[in-house]
C-alpha cells in the first residue's frame, strides 16, 4: 500500500501519473473527430506505457518473471482477439472486456486485503470501506457483463427473463451485503469479504437477466461506467491517484453514454440500474405473433426503380442490418446509386444496434464514408424533403406511435421521422413486430411499401436490378 512507493521518489511517481492522465484525456479528446481519433489512441497507448514503466520500477515489486509471463500471455491473446473479431461482434467483445476489468478489480481488492493480513498491517477503517466497495463494484461489473456477453453471443436467450419477486430478491441481497459489510468492517474476517463478493456476483447476474436484447445499448454503457468506478475504487484502496483519475474518466464516459441511450429509448436510468429495464414495455407474447396489419408488399424491381429514379435517398439501418451482415451489400447499393447521381445519406438512431455507435462502425467497415452518415438530430429535418427513405432492419426507432399515440409503450421515445418522406421502403424479414412488441403504423401508411426477405439478399437483388436495367 502506501509503503510501496516509499523508496521511489513519490513526486517522480506522481509526475509520471499526472502525465499519463493527460495522455489519457488527450486520447479521449481525440475522439471528437475521426480525423484526430487515431492520434488520440496513440496518445492513450503512450500513457499506458508510462504507467507500466513507473509501476514496474517500484522497489517493492519483484517476481518479474511471473509478471512478464502474465503480461505477455494476456497481450498475445488480446491482440489476436482484437485482430480477428468481426465488427458485428463488437458488442460481445466490449461486454467481455468489461467483465475482465470487474474481475481484476475484485481480485486486486481481495489480494490487497490478504497481503495486509499477511504483513499484519493495521488497516484504517476508511481503507476497509474502500476495499469493500471496490470488490463489490468489481463483482457486480463482472457478473453483469458476463450475462450481457452471453446474451449478445447467443449463448443465453436474448429475451428478458422475468420472474416473480425479482425486485424483492434484489432488495434482500442488497440488505444482506450491507449487514455483512458492517460485520466485515468490525471483524476484518476474510471469509466475510468472500461471502459479500459472492452475493454481489449473484446480484450482478440478477440485475441483467431481466433485460432484453434491444436494451443492450443501455446495459453495455452502464457496465462501461461500472468498470470505471471499479478502477477508481481500486485507486482509493491502493491510494493510487492514476487509478482514481483514469477510473473517473472511464466512469463518467460510461455514465454519459448510459444517459444518452436511456434518453434515446425513453427509459429512466434508475430503472435500468435496478434491473427493471423495459419490464412494462415488453409484451413477450406480442413479440412472437405475426401482425395482421394491412400492408403493401413491393417487389425488388419496384424498389430498385424507386431508388434509382429518386434524386435523394436516406437509408436507415437497424439491428437487422447487423444480423443479416448486410452492410457490404448496402455499400454496393450506395455506390450504384451514387454513380447514377442519387444523393444518398444514412440516418443513425442513437440506439440502433446493440451498442452505442454500432451502426457507424459497420458502415465504416464497408467503406461508406463517414461524412454521409448522420445522427438523428442532424437528419430529422431532411426527411420531409427526401424522395425515398429506405429502412433496413429497423422498426421501433421509426415507429410514429412514439410521437402520436399516448397509450403506446414507446410513447415519448425520439424517432427518425421517416414517415415524412415522399416514399418509405422497408426491408423486413417477416411481419413480426419489433422489440417493443407493438405494431408499427408506418407500415400501413399510404406512402410505405415493404419488401420481405433477408436484408443482405434484398440489397444484392436491388443492386443487380439497377445494374441490369442500365
Amino acid at each position: 500500500m502506501g509503503n510501496t512507493v516509499a523508496q521511489l521518489n513519490p513526486d517522480l511517481v506522481g509526475m509520471a501519473y499526472l502525465i499519463a492522465t493527460l495522455f489519457f484525456i488527450y486520447g479521449l479528446k481525440g475522439l471528437s473527430s475521426p480525423k484526430t481519433a487515431l492520434l488520440g489512441n496513440a496518445s492513450a497507448m503512450t500513457g499506458m506505457g508510462l504507467a507500466f514503466a513507473i509501476t514496474l520500477a517500484f522497489p517493492s515489486v519483484g517476481n518479474y518473471g511471473l509478471i512478464f509471463a502474465a503480461i505477455a500471455s494476456g497481450a498475445v491473446i488480446g491482440i489476436v482477439i482484437a485482430r480477428k473479431i468481426k465488427m458485428t461482434a463488437m458488442p460481445q467483445l466490449v461486454a467481455c472486456l468489461h467483465s475482465f476489468v470487474g474481475i481484476t478489480a475484485l481480485l486486486v481488492a481481495l489480494g490487497t486485503f490478504l497481503l495486509d493480513q499477511l504483513n499484519n498491517t493495521v488497516v484504517p477503517l476508511i481503507t476497509m470501506i474502500e476495499l469493500t466497495i471496490g470488490s463489490f463494484v468489481g463483482a457486480i461489473t463482472f457478473a453483469g457483463s458476463i450475462i450481457a456477453f452471453g446474451k449478445l453471443q447467443g449463448i443465453l436467450s436474448s429475451k428478458p427473463l422475468i420472474f416473480k419477486h425479482q425486485h424483492f430478491l434484489n432488495l434482500v441481497l442488497t440488505v444482506a451485503i450491507i449487514v455483512l459489510g458492517i460485520e466485515f468492517l468490525m471483524h476484518h474476517n476474510a471469509t466475510t469479504l468472500v461471502i459479500i463478493d459472492v452475493i454481489a456476483l449473484i446480484l450482478g447476474f440478477l440485475l441483467v437477466v431481466p433485460i432484453g436484447g434491444a436494451d443492450m445499448p443501455v446495459v453495455i454503457s452502464m457496465h462501461n461506467s461500472y468498470s470505471g468506478w471499479a478502477a477508481a475504487a481500486t485507486g482509493f484502496v491502493l491510494n493510487n491517484q492514476l487509478l482514481i483519475t483514469t477510473g473517473a474518466l472511464v466512469g463518467s464516459s460510461g455514465a454519459i453514454l448510459s444517459y444518452i441511450m436511456c434518453h434515446a429509448m425513453n427509459r429512466e436510468l434508475y430503472k435500468v440500474m435496478s434491473g427493471g429495464v423495459g419490464l412494462h414495455a415488453v409484451d413477450l407474447e406480442a413479440m412472437e405473433r405475426e401482425s395482421t396489419q394491412a400492408i403493401k408488399a413491393a417487389a425488388v424491381e419496384d424498389v430498385a426503380f424507386l431508388l434509382e429514379n429518386a434524386s435523394s435517398v436516406i437509408i436507415v439501418p437497424g439491428y437487422g442490418m447487423a444480423v443479416a451482415q448486410a452492410h457490404h451489400a448496402i455499400k454496393e447499393l450506395y455506390d450504384v446509386l451514387t454513380e447514377k447521381g442519387v444523393s444518398v445519406k444514412f440516418a443513425i438512431h442513437p440506439v440502433a444496434g446493440r451498442m452505442p455507435g454500432h451502426m457507424n462502425v459497420l458502415l465504416a467497415e464497408s467503406d461508406i464514408p463517414y461524412d454521409v452518415v448522420f445522427t438523428m438530430d442532424e437528419i430529422n429535418k431532411d426527411f420531409a424533403a427526401v424522395d425515398v427513405a429506405f429502412v433496413i432492419g429497423a422498426n421501433d426507432v421509426v415507429n410514429p406511435a412514439a410521437k402520436n399515440v399516448q397509450s403506446s409503450p414507446i410513447y415519448g421515445m425520439p424517432i427518425l421521422e421517416v414517415y415524412k418522406a415522399k416514399q418509405v421502403l422497408v426491408s423486413k424479414r417477416s411481419m413480426k413486430p419489433g422489440y417493443s412488441g407493438i405494431d408499427n403504423a408506418l407500415f400501413e401508411a399510404v406512402n410505405c411499401s415493404l419488401v420481405f426477405g433477408d436484408a443482405k439478399h434484398t440489397c444484392e437483388m436491388i443492386v443487380k436490378a439497377i445494374r441490369g436495367a442500365a
Binding site: L28, F58, S73, T112, A230, A248, P356
Partner: protein, 101 residues
C-alpha cells in the same frame, strides 16, 4: 486534509474533466470510445502488479507460487487482454473511418 480527502478531490475533479471531454465525442465514434475506455480501464493492472510483485513469505500452494502471486497473475493476465485487445481493436475501428473521396 487526510489522504482520502485529497483522493476525493482528485476523483471529483476528474469526473468533471471526463464529463466535459466525453460530451465532445462525436456519436459516430461511440463504439471506439467504449473500446478505448475498455483499454484504459485496464489500468487496474497497476494494482495487480503491486499484488503479484509484493514480497510474500506465505507458503506456496503449488510449485513455488503463493496464493497472492496466483491472484496477481490472473489479474495481470486479464487486465493485459483488456489493454492490448482494447487498444488494438480501437485502432482497427478508427482506421476504417474514411472521408468521401
Amino acid at each position: 486534509m487526510s489522504q482520502t480527502m485529497v483522493n476525493l478531490y482528485i476523483f471529483v475533479l476528474s469526473c468533471f474533466v471526463g464529463y466535459h471531454v466525453i460530451w465532445g465525442v462525436t456519436p459516430a465514434l461511440h463504439t471506439p470510445l467504449m473500446a478505448v475506455t475498455n483499454a484504459i480501464s485496464g489500468i487496474v493492472i497497476v494494482g495487480a502488479i503491486l499484488v503479484a510483485g509484493a514480497q510474500d513469505n506465505s507458503a506456496a500452494i503449488f510449485f513455488n507460487i503463493t496464493t497472492m502471486q496466483l491472484i496477481g497473475f490472473v489479474a495481470i493476465f486479464l487486465a493485459s487482454i483488456n489493454i492490448f485487445g482494447g487498444f488494438v481493436v480501437t485502432n482497427r475501428i478508427l482506421a476504417m473511418f474514411k472521408k468521401r473521396k
